[in-house]
């Protein structure tokens, strides 16, 4: 049976506990974080604190000298700070104690608790939060040991499991494949045909990885102009595709069309002029925009929606296996960190 260890507590409000519109109100800027630290530490019961504030989560890790009432004190302070009823904030949050806090910190730092499981950005955010906490002087021996050891465990998870490997959404799978073909996206240019949602996400994903040259083709020139303005890029008339096809390395197509926009015969005419430059065709259209025969042409790589979805599904199943493995490591490591904290007299002192 686990013992109650109120001396180390965590209050978390995140995408698992409450909807986006409700957790928005808990978002803080740097000045507000400093004010919250000050508010929390007006109570002598809260000895050490760490506030983690990201777009998706608000978390307060605290060491309290009053294990029985530490949680209540923290909630009361938070309710007062956010100017909401204590019951309301309690309903949006989860509270954890003792070694569960350490396990949670490890899992958050390793990306296990992120909305996109395995994303790496959170680790930097936790590090930044810890640096702020240290700079403001609200960390002490317990928080310092816990966070430093927790970081080591999170790094171990990221290095020893596949938690961050392989993309699990279609747009990012397409971007990963682009990188496998072109190496860098800086000098590649992409043409977007049609204006579907996945197409837009793929453009965003390509931009986030360095692609900057875009073209937008549509059946209607007005629509092409409109989307080119919105997404950035050069507008083209789809009917003249063959005149500008060779200007692009990646073609993302999700147009409504009765017949394929490209087939092996029409592509073959262009490949000589491309001088071995690869062409990556991402066909997101239903019915398909590219004839399957395009794949037969050398240096042409054709992926349709099913292909990308299959890769994403395969990656997801691998990631699920990695999640189990990672959780096991987090549990083992949190137990050993807890033991270390106990041996140093930093916890279990009630």
């Amino acid at each position: 049976m686990s013992t109650y260890h109120g001396e180390l507590l965590l209050i978390t409000i995140n995408h698992e506990t409450v909807s986006l519109e409700k957790r928005e109100r808990y978002s803080l800027d740097d000045v507000q974080i400093k004010m919250l630290y000050e508010a929390l530490h007006r109570s002598p019961m809260l000895e050490e604190s760490l506030i983690l504030n990201t777009c998706n989560r608000f978390e307060l890790y605290s060491k309290t000298s009053d294990p029985k009432n530490g949680g209540a004190i923290a909630f009361k302070t938070l309710a007062s700070f956010y100017n909401v009823q204590r019951e309301e904030i309690e309903s949006h949050a989860r509270i954890r104690f003792g070694r569960e806090v350490i396990k949670h910190l490890i899992e958050v730092s390793a990306g296990l608790r992120s909305q996109i499981t395995g994303e790496a950005e959170i680790f930097g955010q936790v590090k930044k939060a810890y640096a702020t906490c240290q700079r403001l002087g609200y960390s002490g021996r317990l928080i310092n040991r816990m966070v430093q050891k927790g970081f080591q465990a999170a790094k171990l998870i990221r290095h020893s499991t596949q938690i961050g490997e392989g993309q699990i959404n279609i747009s990012n799978v397409a971007v990963d494949l682009s990188l496998k073909i072109f190496g860098s996206l800086k000098n590649t240019s992409a043409l977007v045909v049609g204006t579907g949602e996945i197409g837009e996400k793929t453009v965003k994903a390509l931009k986030s990885r360095g692609a900057s040259n875009f073209g937008v083709a549509s059946h209607h020139s007005g629509r092409a102009d409109e989307i080119a303005d919105k997404w950035g890029g050069i507008p083209h008339a789809l009917g003249e595709l063959e005149t500008y096809l060779n200007d692009y390395d990646i073609i993302i197509s999700s147009s409504e069309t009765d017949s394929p926009l490209l087939d092996a015969r029409s592509l073959a005419k262009h490949m000589n002029a491309r001088k071995n430059r690869p062409l990556f065709l991402i066909d997101l259209g239903l019915p398909r925009n590219m004839d399957a025969s395009c794949q037969e042409i050398e240096n042409v790589y054709l992926y349709n929606l099913d292909d990308l979805a299959k890769i994403a599904t395969d990656n997801l199943s691998e990631r699920r296996a990695a999640i189990k493995q990672s959780e096991k490591i987090a549990a083992q490591k949190s137990a050993s960190i807890w033991q270390m904290l106990e041996s140093r007299g930093l916890v279990n002192f009630q």
Partner: protein
């Protein structure tokens, strides 16, 4: 000859073991653990093997008082040594991930082969370069270019594997750990240019001596040397003009390297007439 109490062949055997371990570890990390091994760890391991091999070849060289290039075993070892040296000293600049595993596999295969076929290490051979350090340089450069072409063949294999995976949409195996096909095409061209330049320099040195004494080189050696040089020369021309597709180019690089390796057989044949002066290929002088 022994050095530090260990025979030259034993040094080379130890090096081979290290190359095998490096290749196996890298492959195991990728295929079984699904992780990217850190490049420095592979580089360190391969470098350790290369140092052991260098000691072995140095011990052999002490015996001759020159480069140890007197039989097929030594020719192959020197080629492997060159390929590994290229990986260690130039490889990091290329930034081609997984090149270490391919290079150590290459080194393992050829080193094991040369150690296994005892007849390749004929003890009856005599030093082949007489007193001329230039001819020694000629042979060493030629074999170094073979090492470069060996690495080129490896990166060509990598290109073919990557394009096959992308075409067949098979994302498993080594695919996630290997570089992009664009990077591979770039590196392939650079390796071809480097190898061709070194081979040309080697042959230019050899040609000076050959013109002095044309009978010093047998026709098969001369013929195969010219064929190999021309083959790479044509390849560099076709690649520059983009006449060959990258797939054809990669297959040709592998085929020409295989031919170059077979040419070692031709150049290792006993000569009709011994010359005190030279040999004109990356060759052994026969006893």
């Amino acid at each position: 000859m022994s050095l530090l109490g260990i025979e030259d062949r034993q040094w080379i055997s130890l090096a081979t073991v290290v190359f095998v371990v490096a290749a196996a570890l890298r492959a195991y990390t990728a295929l079984k653990l699904h992780r990217k091994a850190k490049r420095p760890s592979t580089l360190m391991l391969v470098s350790f093997g290369w140092i052991l091999q260098t000691i072995g070849l140095y011990a052999r060289g002490l015996e001759y008082g020159g480069c140890p290039l007197s039989n097929r075993f030594e020719l192959v070892q020197f080629m492997v040594w060159s390929a590994i040296a290229l990986y260690i000293f130039v490889g990091p600049a290329f930034r081609v991930s997984f090149l270490g595993m391919f290079t150590s596999t290459f080194a393992s295969v050829f080193s094991i082969l040369s150690l296994t076929v005892r007849s390749w290490d004929s003890p009856s051979r005599i030093p082949i370069f007489g007193d001329s350090p230039w001819i020694e340089t000629h042979a060493a450069l030629a074999l170094f270019s073979y090492g470069v072409f060996g690495v080129l063949a490896l990166t060509s294999v990598m290109y073919l594997l990557q394009t096959r995976s992308l075409k067949q949409k098979k994302m498993g195996g080594l695919f996630p750990y290997m570089p992009s096909i664009f990077e591979l095409t770039q590196i392939n061209f650079r390796l071809l240019a480097i190898g061709f330049f070194i081979l040309s320099a080697s042959l230019a040195i050899g040609a000076v001596y050959w013109f002095r004494e044309t009978e010093s080189v047998d026709l098969p050696k001369l013929g195969t040397t010219i064929v190999v040089w021309f083959a790479y020369g044509i390849l560099i021309l076709l690649r520059s003009r983009q006449t060959l597709s990258y797939k054809q180019y990669s297959w040709t690089c592998i085929a020409v390297f295989a031919t170059a390796l077979l040419s070692l057989e031709a150049v290792d044949q006993p000569k009709a007439k011994e010359s005190p002066l030279l040999d004109s290929t990356p060759t052994a002088r026969s006893p």
